[in-house]
């Protein structure tokens, strides 16, 4: 069935740029039978909302919560399971018929259960048991929440047979900061600092998606100069993160030369950001309405210098990588995500693109200024650690080209527009280094009354669980670094 035919049966609610369709529970349940990508699932105190994609069209659907429950979508869309657990924890809405009803980010540590509900409180949720395994030869390795390295906290439960991982189950939520709750009651401008701190490594791209949602809800657009500067910052952030991760992947194979060089280049990019925009990570530089800082006169030169040094050395670094069979041996055929798996979870970013998914929000649905720029998105089929590494290297190159066309042609004019005290709903998006980022918000008199921020990691973490199956425990760090999913981004 076509998604649009089903949505046409619902009541339309204004949301920019795409209307939201409120379905009856029966029609919502029929979504299970439609071939589509489920990109996100979230709630407010009275309804559950979904972001869906079919044949290049993005659609919003909602269902009202009745008697504290709504029909689950997880029986048809496996990615819905984590969202449904999160919705039950934060808003107290039960996903009826869901595949997994265990608590997720509610660790039983808050004063009230369902803190985002109309009336928080009630009994705390029982804490989950890890999935049981059968067979005598299997043992468990519990890891975390505090890991050995300098990374975010989360718990990984490996079920292992000999050296081979039979199953990995991930439990997150340790960095839950109540970010969605902090958004409510604030103006988009005041709330932007929370979007900038949902996942620090993606501070620019999350800020862009958040700003674009606010601008859509207000019916305002950022000035062209702001759009161009946002893209400059987003591409610098992408390059810096890929450099950090490529170094970290090689480091986990104990190949010290590559991280030494990759991290030096990462530092050059961060230093260029400090020169150009006054902050190494460019935090709080993107705000609803535009950007808060203009690029300084020395900025384009500093960025070009860093790009030039990188461009000169990058082919050599890739050659070194390919020259060492002991290194390549660790990467190739390790942690494979099949195209079918990536499609079922609608994974974006390098995780999707290394597994044959040709998706990029800069191209479809597109947003300024990318709609007037040429962009070659690399796509590989292998789906292993090596493919994710190579997609990142190709993306560094693509972003370099984008920066070179953006910087000499920055439009003149203001860097920000003021937002009216509007009432409305909007959805905004941006392609961060990890992939597709979506922000939705509802404004009443210029104040946020409901919002959601969907990090790409929601659809990538579950695939990490799939990728490690059948691999040896020692290859987990490689798989994990090649994904580098955000903990804070999904812990909210």
């Amino acid at each position: 069935m076509s998604l649009d035919a089903l949505l046409a049966r619902g009541r339309e609610v204004a949301c920019q740029p795409w209307a939201r369709h409120v379905l009856t529970p029966d029609a919502w349940t029929e979504l299970r039978g439609v071939v589509l990508d489920l990109l996100g699932l979230w709630a407010d105190p009275h309804a559950v909302h979904a972001l869906l994609h079919q044949d290049g069209a993005y659609r919003l659907a909602s269902v009202e919560v009745r008697d504290g429950a709504f029909p689950a979508l997880s029986p048809a869309f496996p990615a819905a399971a984590w969202f449904e657990r999160m919705i039950a924890d934060l808003w107290g809405h039960r996903a009826e018929g869901g595949t997994d009803e265990r608590a997720w980010i509610d660790h039983g540590r808050w004063d009230h259960a369902a803190p985002m509900a109309a009336r928080p409180g009630g009994p705390g949720r029982p804490q989950p048991e890890f999935l049981a395994h059968e067979g005598d030869d299997i043992h468990e390795i519990p890891v975390g929440p505090v890991h050995a390295g300098i990374i975010e906290p989360g718990h990984f439960r490996f079920s292992v047979q000999g050296e081979t991982v039979v199953r990995l189950e991930i439990r997150l939520g340790y960095t839950h900061k109540g970010t969605l709750g902090l958004l409510n009651g604030k103006s988009p401008r005041a709330a932007a600092r929370f979007a900038a701190r949902l996942s620090g490594d993606t501070t620019v791209a999350h800020s862009v998606a958040f700003a674009r949602a606010a601008e859509a809800a207000c019916g305002t657009a950022a000035p062209p100069r702001a759009d161009a500067l946002r893209a400059v910052m987003t591409e610098m952030e992408r390059i810096a993160n890929h450099l950090g991760d490529c170094g970290a992947i090689a480091n986990d194979a104990a190949f010290a030369f590559l991280p030494a060089r990759f991290h030096w280049h990462r530092e050059q990019m961060l230093a260029a950001a400090q020169t150009a925009f006054g902050h190494r990570l460019m935090m709080d530089a993107v705000v609803p309405g535009g950007v808060s800082v203009d690029i300084v006169a020395a900025g384009p030169g500093a960025i070009e210098a860093a790009l030039h040094r990188l461009e000169v050395e990058l082919p050599n670094l890739l050659r070194v990588y390919e020259d060492y069979s002991s290194l390549v041996d660790r990467m190739v055929t390790t942690g494979i995500v099949s195209t079918e798996q990536a499609q079922r979870f609608a994974a974006g970013g390098y995780v999707g693109r290394a597994s044959g998914r040709d998706v990029d929000l800069r191209q479809s649905p597109g947003y300024p200024p990318y709609d007037r720029l040429e962009l070659a998105v690399p796509v590989l089929q292998e789906g292993d650690v090596d493919a994710r590494f190579r997609v990142r290297i190709a993306e560094i190159h693509a972003s370099t080209l984008l920066l070179r066309s953006l910087l000499p042609a920055l439009p003149d004019g203001p860097i920000a527009a003021s937002l009216p005290m509007a009432t409305g709903e909007g959805i905004g998006w941006a392609e961060g280094f990890r992939g597709d980022i979506w922000h939705w918000m509802r404004l009443e008199g210029g104040i946020i009354t409901a919002a959601f921020m969907r990090d790409p990691s929601w659809l990538q973490w579950p695939l990490l669980q799939a990728a490690i199956r059948g691999n040896i425990v020692a290859d987990f760090p490689l798989c994990n670094k090649s994904f580098n999913c955000s903990y804070s981004g999904v812990d909210l």
Binding site: P145, I150, E152, P153, H176, K177, L182, G200, L281
Partner: protein, 174 residues
Amino acid sequence: MVWRHVAGRLFSPPLTVAAEKLDEREIAELAERLHATARRTLGRSLSIRQVDAGSCNGCELEINMLNSVVYDLERFGLHFVASPRHADVMMVTGPTARNMREGLLRTHAAAGEPKFVVAVGDCAIDGGVFKGSYAVDGAVANAVQVDLVIRGCPPSPAQMLVGLRLLLEANAGP
């Protein structure tokens, strides 16, 4: 291939940034504070265990850069360790998410005495922008005794390096 790159580097200047001169008065003040708690006993090499108590991962990005060739933490006798059992210093980031409070306390308890705690970043100092949320306890000092704070959102690696070297000097004494 690597040998050619390494050979090239033999004749180029070092990539590591020079060490900034530390403020003697700041060292003396910190030394006095540490002395008051009778914990100047750890020598000139400190092992650091990092704990993320709910950060946005911005602080972790910059802490990781301390290990890069640019900041090269180890030249000062400072290095990161995997186990809290081996740690003299705990660098704690984040607004003490309630879901991480027990993880923080247990990691802290696992590190032997004496030990120093450094609160890194504005969230760890007072909860930062997340102050007042139902899900955070705010300042790390509410959970464990803090000996040094490094401000910033996130602090730059250079700022962290200054803070950690102050601690090293103050601890080692004159």
